[in-house]
Amino acid sequence: MSLGLLAPLGLAALAALLLPLLVHLARREEQVPTDFAALRWLAAKFRPRQRLRFEEILLLLLRLLLVAALALLLARPVLFGGRGDAAWLVVLPGADVADAPALPEGTQRRWLAPGFPPLESPLPSAPVATASLLRQLDAELPAATPVTVLVTAHFDGADGARPRLARPVDWRVVDGAPAEPSATPPGEFALAIRHAPEADAALPYLRAAVAAWQAVAEAPAADVNADADANAVVVERGSAEPIDVAGLDAALPERTRPLAWLAPGELPVPVLAWAREGGTALLASQATWPLAEAGAVVWRDDAGQPLARAAVLGRGRVVQLTRALNPAAMPALLQPDFPRQLRALLEPAPPAPTRASAAAYAPMPGGPSFPETPRDVSPWLLWLVAALFALERWVASGRRGVAA
């Protein structure tokens, strides 16, 4: 355990130690005025001696300590080590703790969950980023601490690479079922359209695309391409109203449903706010791009010309078609894969697979070792300063009381 300073220049404040010293010296220099009529028999050669004498040593010491503690506080002291080298047992939520090997007394038993809560605390329910937590644990623990990990045969939270840790880890696969991620059901993908009157011409193509999505959802086995021709009948047939077509001043849909904004000019403020809070907006080519940067091209035609660009806006996205929605400007409208392309534009990317087999995902040794994270001592020092200050006030006022 050793003390380190994050800002050693703060120790320059130790110069303030001179202040209490001066305060306690200053009284020494002033002379006690005394009436003395027999002055003429007093020899003038004896000047008062300038002795380095301090008054009220206890109070002086307290004040010196207080100033020193404040200076140390400014230097931001941190503590290295001192956490002990007790072994750690981390358990993946869902793994069977009963299968843990015999570990020495004083072993830290924690859940492999954010913050590493002790095993006595309730089982963390949310799925955890297992690999990331393993790396965090490896980086935070002192290098000598042995770590035992209990995992289930399969678990979620893996990422692209096997974790490479600085220490060898006792990796034990035990019984138990990992917490299942709450799989989001593949809900209906619907579209809301807000259009200006002059944009009516584009509506059939979008209706057709939505109808095609519906057809795929109802008959997954059917050939998508066969239904790709605009089949507006689907709209009337659907009970859940998969398409919501209205004028520009109609209410905005809920944010899970993409919005096609078919109007020229600036986006109105409510629409922008809607998109910022998590909505996905599809803009017609006449609309003004709401962002300063141009956005990334996400769809190109066969000739490589950009057809759509997209950008993140707040928590949502904006996608803009670069061509007018008519077959003359955009032949892709008539292509059989237009519904699929449109859906790909509007749908968020599916999550990456995170499930891994524990046997295959055992951490590898030889990872980078990190310098130990020091502990901040400032809160304790603050308490010390407060206590010293209270004591100093008490002693100072007590002395004065006695004098009075």
Binding site: V32, P33, T34, D35, L39, L42, F46, P48
Partner: protein
């Protein structure tokens, strides 16, 4: 200060043993208790002298006439009254006292000593008066006798505040008009003013009987100060920084030497002098000045 008449009870009790007496008591002003050099009617036989025209026949010693056939007049020593003056120094230096006893300054001691003298004089039926010399000049209570005279003097003392310096010579002229030849004058002062000492000398030279009580503080005797001090003279305003422990021995020696020289000088001019330190009993200096001497007791 204790009570309206300044005299503590124990001191008052001890005053009974004391008696004011003057070495030069002058006759001629009625009968009193003090031995005088003047001859005349009285109790103690002094001498016979030849009859002179104008002598009262009842003063002739007829038995002697029967033996000697000549007229002799019997004379005795006349007991005369005394006039006692208390001259109080009220310059600023008299306000000084000891740190150990903050409310007892030189002036307080001088008031009490003066009150004691008045008490003695009152008891003996003598005349007494008060002169206060301070920053205001001279303040006089003309000599008189009796209880009301004592109260007048005490009232005057009550109002005295120590401040200022010793006044000029000319302002003290009324003093010479009031304190007659042969009067007893008790000068209560710290004797730090050269003018005060000169006044005592000149009064003594002019046939006044002068007693001097030099009122000194215990600090001036012991110099008990510690550490650095800023000594300040209230009269001149002079200040001196000094380290008390180092200056102590030198001061005590120099001050004792000065007091010895003063004693020699005053004794040479016939002034009876005693010292009173503020931590002594109040009747000590009076005892030294007025204690019945062997010759008187006989």
């Amino acid at each position: 200060m204790s009570g309206p008449d300044f005299i503590p009870a124990d001191v008052r009790a001890r005053l009974k043993a004391l008696r004011l007496h003057g070495r030069r008591a002058a006759g001629g002003h009625g009968f009193g208790q003090h031995a005088s050099r003047s001859r005349g009617a009285g109790l103690e036989f002094a001498q016979y002298r030849a009859y002179e025209q104008g002598d009262e026949p009842r003063q002739v010693d007829w038995k002697l006439y029967a033996r000697s056939d000549r007229f002799f007049v019997r004379e005795s020593e006349r007991d005369s009254p005394l006039t006692a003056w208390v001259v109080v120094d009220a310059t600023a230096s008299m306000a000084q006292g000891d740190a150990a006893r903050p409310r007892w300054s030189r002036l307080d001691a001088a008031r009490a000593l003066a009150a004691c003298v008045f008490e003695l004089a009152l008891r003996q039926g003598d005349r007494f008066g008060l002169a206060v010399i301070g920053g205001d000049g001279l303040r006089l209570v003309p000599a008189g006798s009796g209880l009301r005279q004592r109260d007048r003097c005490l009232l005057e003392l009550q109002g005295v505040r120590a401040h200022g310096q010793w006044p000029e010579e000319s302002k003290l002229r009324p003093l010479w008009e009031r304190i007659g030849a042969g009067h007893l004058a008790v000068l209560v002062s710290d004797d730090f003013d050269e003018a005060a000492v000169t006044l005592a000398e000149r009064l003594s030279a002019a046939r006044r009987e002068v007693l001097n009580v030099q009122v000194l503080t215990a600090e001036e005797r012991d110099f008990p100060f510690r550490g650095g001090r800023r000594f300040r003279d209230a009269e001149s305003g002079a200040e001196m920084l000094s380290d008390a422990p180092s200056a102590r021995a030198g001061f005590i020696a120099a001050f004792a030497q000065a007091r010895r020289e003063l004693a020699v000088r005053l004794a040479a001019s016939g002034v009876q002098r005693t010292e009173y330190f503020l931590d002594e009993a109040l009747d000590q200096p009076l005892r030294r000045l007025f204690a019945p001497q062997a010759a008187d007791r006989a």
